[in-house]
């Protein structure tokens, strides 16, 4: 089902967490996370996922992951990272869910946001002859 053109254009600017993002199948989604960290120097892996939650179980359909080096700190420091997720594995559909977490500290970090990504099928619409003239 094709979406309105304006809706697609607006979605390219990104949306705050919780709001709906509409993409074309095959687009990449850039997901940004933030968190506070306190502790020894640590290398951890952040996982960014898109999927479907069915009866409370998250079915991960697309993801990306990356390592980050957190320096030692005895006070809380705020960090922000992002990664791009390929969505070629997502079928056209609505209300995909997103998740993010630090893989080594899932219980402290896992966040879930439901029904925030719609995927539309690439295609044409309104193809028509606009005019014809002598040139």
């Amino acid at each position: 089902m094709a979406k309105d053109v304006m809706e697609l254009i607006e979605s390219e600017f990104g949306v705050p967490a919780g709001q709906k993002l509409t993409i074309v199948q095959g687009d990449k989604v850039r997901m940004t996370v933030s968190f506070d960290y306190l502790g020894p120097a640590k290398t951890v892996t952040i996982r960014y996922s898109i999927g479907n939650r069915i009866v409370g179980v998250f079915n991960e359909l697309a993801f990306n992951r990356g390592s980050v080096n957190l320096p030692a700190s005895d006070t809380w420091k705020t960090y922000s990272y992002y990664m791009d997720i390929s969505t070629s594995a997502l079928s056209p559909g609505t209300d995909y869910d997103v998740e993010a977490k630090v893989e080594e500290y899932v219980s402290d970090t896992l966040v879930k946001i439901d029904n925030v990504i719609d995927v539309v099928k690439p295609g044409f619409r309104n193809f028509q002859i606009v005019s014809y003239e002598k040139v």
């Binding site: 967490a17 989604v29 960290y37 120097a41 997103v98």
Partner: protein
Amino acid sequence: MAGKYTDITELTAPSSAAPGSKVSITVKVFNKTDKFYIAVTGGYNGAGFSFSPDYVMSVYGSTYTFTGSFTMPATKVRVLINSWVWDGTKWIVDDYMYKDIAVTAIAEPSFRNFKVLDYSKA
């Protein structure tokens, strides 16, 4: 301590620091002669670290401030500071002062406020 040409009047450093944290050092040097250039060097456990400014063109009777820093290792350190003066041909080490810095235990890895900020078409 007291040097022949200068006095290190103040060495400011924390008494303890966590491994991997930045340790900031501030040194104040009093010029009690007509020696023109004054510099400061620092070291701990065999390693050195630099100060800013590299040196100053000093005036008799004035006090100058130098700042430096290093990353705290996993063991306690003794920070040794030296003041230097330029005698016209070479640098001469003059006064010294030191301070011990203990290692503080660092907390277990802790996260808070982990959240997805936004998502966009890349």
